[in-house]
Homo-oligomer: 408 residues x 2
């Protein structure tokens, strides 16, 4: 058995304990304290990673690699927030009385063993560990090589807390690149893969596993400015959607403008003033991740919606209009994880949605869609309690009818 498979088996066993009688709230509180107490060891390890990366990593990646006091504070606060959340494990979602003395309950449960694969950002180790503990899932984490020392320091702190609570192995780091391929092949032990990284990285994972992958490869978001849009709102929303932070998945890549919108030039001028290069009638479906926006003038809202369905990535798309009927139709018809009316696409984010923490943003059509928090790491099981009930009673000629009374 490979070492990675042994890790996955160990994670599976730890999951069974963590999801059953472990005190997940106490673990999270201890984890927050241990991370705070271990600050110096994490910062020292991070300094070694930064030293090794100096000059070899592009500045944005180098910045993401940094783990400093503000990031630690965020991680500790986030962990404590999760500790304060009501325990999602075992929550009763529905109760139905099938017949007298025969009660069906739908109960929220964790998924099992999750593999999380990400680049740079050492704080992701602590964030995902905390989300996994809150949701009762075990997790195997594969971070980037550039953050190896930082990740190891954080992983060591997490492991010592888990050990104290009898659930050692519920959060484990895997370290080599070969191990990723091994993880992706273990569809008998791993129930979900959560990648966070570049388009190429996510796409590669999606193409190389049979395990469900929760995430998104690209974010090709649109702002559609309708005929009767308010010019000031249109400019404000387009500028924020594109230029507030262009390097992220919820930044808009394409501006669609109704041919009869009267303030088109004013809109373009606002974008250009924010440093945005406009590419007219070209680049549709491209994720620029930069101060570049493709622009198309459309004849109708129908054409705008058809454009979004054809070129978009079903991430987040917005309409700017003062026409409520048009807005409602847009909200109903656009088949994306987020559909917005008179608001910036940049709101598409777990923290802004109020989830407290997020695993990532999903453009999947099953399981979880949009920003994913603790809920997206949960599934359910059905508990049936009887008193000797058998199916023969409800079958054949003298079949007793079911009651099927929904209790909650």
């Amino acid at each position: 058995m490979s070492e990675t498979r042994q890790q996955a088996e160990r994670a599976r066993q730890a999951f069974l304990k963590l999801s059953a009688d472990a005190d997940r709230t106490a673990i999270l509180k201890d984890l927050a304290e241990a991370l705070r107490a271990g600050a110096e060891s994490i910062f020292a390890a991070n300094a070694r990673d930064l030293e090794a990366a100096r000059g070899t990593l592009a500045p944005p990646l180098y910045k993401r690699l940094m783990f400093n006091e503000p990031k630690l504070r965020d991680v500790v606060d986030g962990t404590l927030q999760l500790a304060e959340m009501p325990d999602p494990v075992g929550r009763v979602l529905e109760t139905t009385e099938l017949d007298e003395g025969l009660t069906l309950q739908k109960i929220q449960t964790p998924i099992g063993v999750i593999a999380a694969i990400f680049e740079s950002r050492p704080e992701v180790v602590a964030q995902i560990a905390a989300l996994a503990i809150r949701s009762g899932n075990a997790v195997l984490l594969k971070g980037g090589r550039e953050a190896a020392q930082s990740n190891a320091a954080i992983g060591k702190i997490i492991e010592s807390v888990l050990e104290r609570h009898g659930v050692a192995g519920a959060v484990q780091l895997v370290s080599t690149r070969e191990e990723v391929f091994q993880l992706l092949a273990m569809d008998d032990l791993i129930s979900l893969v959560v990648p966070r990284g570049s388009y190429d990285m996510v796409r590669h994972i999606q193409q190389n596993t049979k395990i469900p992958v929760l995430g998104h490869a690209d974010g090709v978001c649109h702002v559609y400015v309708d005929e009767v849009a308010d010019p000031e709102k249109a400019a404000r929303i387009a500028v924020d959607s594109k230029a507030q932070y262009p390097a992220v998945c919820n930044a808009a890549e394409t501006l669609l403008v109704h041919k009869d919108f009267p303030a088109r030039e004013q809109l373009f001028a606002a974008l250009r003033a924010a440093g945005v290069e406009l590419r007219m009638e070209t680049g549709f479906g491209e994720e620029f991740l930069d101060y570049i926006m493709s622009v198309r003038v459309v004849d109708s809202m129908d054409q705008a919606i058809a454009h979004i369905h054809r070129y978009g990535s079903a991430h987040t798309d917005a309409i700017v209009t003062e026409n409520e009927d048009a807005a409602k139709r847009f909200l109903r018809e656009v088949d994306s994880a987020g559909v917005y009316w008179n608001a910036s696409t940049r709101f598409s984010d777990g923290f802004r949605y109020g989830f407290g923490a997020e695993v990532g943003i999903s453009t999947n059509k099953t399981h979880a869609r949009g920003p994913v928090g603790v809920d997206g790491l949960m599934i359910y099981k059905y508990l049936l309690t009887g008193n000797g009930h058998i199916v023969a009673t409800y079958s054949g000629e003298n079949a007793r009818p079911f009651r099927h009374r929904r209790v909650s």
Copy 2:
């Protein structure tokens, strides 16, 4: 473009209409009426299928191929029941006020285009079509060759109803075996695959697609008779779980008996009297689908749970006990789609659970688990309504805080 791809593109376009402004309830009512009115054409086509299959199909498959008046009645009743259900599309699942005038709604939506692949049973065409229409999804159906005439007759009736409502293409039959491989490769157009059939068929599909597959390959269900089980209940539940209908996925395959359960011989005798062959300490994890049961005497409930996790398929597992603490621990710790206390595993079924109709039973750990009804064919999207709101307001030094007030 292949013909199958054209069909999938057409289904995608039909989905966008069906999920938006189509009157799905009226379609279902018309469909029930049209199926009733088309009875003779379906029966005639079915007679041709039966004639062609005589002598070549095993008796259980031949029986499943038959589409007669009682089956038509079930299908028509089921369609009318779905018509009476509240429309699940657009249901508001949650509402959160992010800030003044900025409201987030989580709305239930269909998934998109679904591929359903099944064997024999022509009624499945009508059942899955009705479920798809209710849930606003388009569906591509691939039935068995042996039912080709029956399926085509039912498909023709469905198509004429859809055409009348302007959503032609929302339900389509695909007919050749090559088309299945083409369907499984179209992960850009098809969002979910629902297979219903043999272990080999489902396993083959799971191994040959990147599209999420909702279903189960096998059902290795267990009955665990605890030390303090009531002997009469134990015998009744074990016999029903195994012998009420052994050829199905929710029939029990293995009996686990606590070593100190006093009425062991009485339990075995009851099973043998029901025609069950007991295989002692062998055959664990095998799906017999017959009057055969493997038996293991265990030292403890922990050993029983470990056995279930090792050999089971996480479908449905039951404990028989009068000890409430033991039962609660079993219900909590066993990681299966259905976990039962003093009830037969045979209850694991969408109709018995009160779902009205079922797509199948899922042993997945994501999206939907256990018997799957309309709910399992739904996902959600987030609608955000603002009034010119931008993220810049909530960022940086003078960031305005979010309100995050859960409204519903």
